[in-house]
Symmetry: C2
Subunit: 131 residues, 2 copies
C-alpha cells in the first residue's frame, strides 16, 4: 500500500511502520480457526479444551492447542488451569478478544447473507471454465 487512504474513515496510517504492524496483526488474526474460536467463545462463554475441540468442527488437537496459545499470547484469551483430577482447563475471552470478535461480527453476517451468491458465482465460473 503505497498511497494514503482517501475518502474513508480508516485510521490514517501515515507511518508505514504502523501500517506494516497492522498488516502483520491482521495476518496473524485473520485466520480461519482464530475467527471460529472467537465466535464459539463469544456465543458460549468460557469453554474447556475438549468443548472447543468439539465445537470447532474439523480442527485437529494440535491446531487447537497452537491457535489457543497464539491467542493467549496476543492477549485475546485467558487460560485457567483448575487443579483437579481429571485436569480441567478453561478458556475465556479477554475484553481485547471480545472487541475483535465484535469486529468480526460483520464478516459473519456478510457470509451468512451471501453464501448463496458465492455458490452461484462459483458455479458460473466453473461452468465457463469447462469450455
Amino acid at each position: 500500500m503505497q498511497k494514503p487512504a482517501i475518502d474513508h474513515d480508516y485510521p490514517e496510517n501515515l507511518d508505514p511502520r504502523v501500517e506494516a504492524l497492522v498488516t502483520q496483526v491482521i495476518g496473524r488474526v485473520a485466520d480461519k480457526w482464530t475467527m471460529i474460536l472467537l465466535e464459539v467463545l463469544t456465543e458460549h462463554g468460557e469453554q474447556r479444551f475438549s468443548q472447543l475441540l468439539r465445537a470447532a468442527d474439523g480442527i485437529s488437537q494440535k491446531m487447537l492447542t497452537q491457535t489457543l496459545r497464539q491467542m493467549e499470547r496476543d492477549g485475546l484469551v485467558i487460560r485457567t488451569v483448575h487443579a483437579a483430577v481429571p485436569p480441567r482447563v478453561d478458556y475465556r475471552l479477554t475484553d481485547l478478544g471480545e472487541g475483535l470478535s465484535y469486529a468480526f461480527c460483520g464478516v459473519w453476517v456478510w457470509a451468512a447473507k451471501n453464501v448463496d451468491r458465492i455458490e452461484s458465482a462459483r458455479a458460473a465460473f466453473d461452468a465457463a471454465r469447462e469450455r
Copy 2:
C-alpha cells in the same frame, strides 16, 4: 466490544448445514492475502496486476495470481483484459466484494487501534515464558 453477540443481529443458524456452509465460506475468505487485496482494491479502486503485486507487500506472483483467481471465482472481483500492447489486465471489486471489504473494515480499525495492546500482551507472555 462489550457483550456477547446475543444482542446482535446474527442470523440464527438453525440449520447446521447452513452453519457449515458459512464456516466454509469464512474459511475461504478469512485469508491474509484476500483481506489485504480487498483493502487495496477498496482504497485505490481498479488496479492492474503489477500494481497489486507491489501493493500487497510480500506476496509472490504465484500467490497473487492464485488468490485473484479464487476471488474471481467467488464473485468478489472482476477481471478485465484490455487488448493492447503491452497487455493490460485490471481487477476491480464487485458489489459482493465491496460488501465483504466493508465487513472487514471493523477488523482493520480494531487492529489499528489495538496494535500496541497486542504487542505488550506478547511481551508479557514471552517474559513469563522465560522462567
